[in-house]
Symmetry: D2
Subunit: 98 residues, 4 copies
């Protein structure tokens, strides 16, 4: 059943690692808020925001890889995968949009 397949999280094995990275990102944002509170130099704040963005992209790429090798693979093996490929493309479009 398709909806059951879609509810599976492909990243179960990487869950702890991903949560560690997300906690670190939460700390990064609190650090950035502290810098803004202290009125630190704009460029320093902007550099920290760029680091946060890189961290978010790192997590996204890890999740996307797990998803491709999990949910998408299983859907294709099950004779389908059209909807899953569309979802992946929509996400990639959102990330590369220019």
């Amino acid at each position: 059943m398709k909806s059951a397949t879609r509810r599976t999280a492909s990243y179960t094995d990487d869950k702890r690692k991903i949560l560690v990275r997300l906690r670190r990102m939460e700390g990064q944002i609190r650090g950035i808020a502290g810098m803004v509170e202290e009125e630190r130099y704009c460029i320093e704040v902007l550099q920290q925001l760029a680091s946060l963005r890189a961290a978010a992209d790192g997590v996204a790429l890890k999740l996307l890889r797990d998803h491709m090798d999990g949910c998408v693979r299983r859907a294709v093996e099950g004779g389908n995968g059209k909807a899953e490929i569309d979802e992946v493309m929509e996400l990639v479009r959102r990330y590369t949009r220019s």
Copy 2:
């Protein structure tokens, strides 16, 4: 055989459309060169470069979709696809790198 699979182009059906878009991009670049030759205002040139980038990304997204629904799908159906998924992830990484 894997290398044979990899040589297949998944975009055969979209080939004409893709070539039309590439010809248009070639014209865009010649137009940009003409603007630079005439020393047109920087921002106008930059806007045309942004359009060219958007056009290149549009072609890339089309090719990537065809590739996912073609080469990657066939590799997964053939019981593999690891190498193909790695290739796709490497490309997505290159496009989102921050």
Copy 3:
């Protein structure tokens, strides 16, 4: 004196707004961590990460605008600005790198 100029934060007037946005981003990350904890569907997590990235970019663009119209402007008016323009370009490079 240049180092004094550089220590100025150009975003003082927008400080409260920026802090509100950063708090919201902190909440977004905690929400994403909660989704991962519950093993929610990969694509839903990825969409939230894309929203977070958009929020981070929104804050960055606000800070950059304030910086251009503040620190960079003052440096240029003071007869210089070379270092400030280099810093801005380095940041823009980091954000568009492909």
Copy 4:
């Protein structure tokens, strides 16, 4: 007079270098069209499109730097620059949009 200022191209000194790069990009696109014509492997075509995008961004960053240190600087020195900063921000927004 503002419109006169705006008509100036800040990249005059880099014009030859920029034109060389644009000619190279034109060659890259023709090469990509040739690859598509021969139905070369999707990933190879996508890698060439990523190179083209990087080349376009390289030219854009060069033009933007010249513009900041030319048109924007002159406008600010002339006691204004608001419109020029808005234009630059609009472009940066277009390039980082996520």
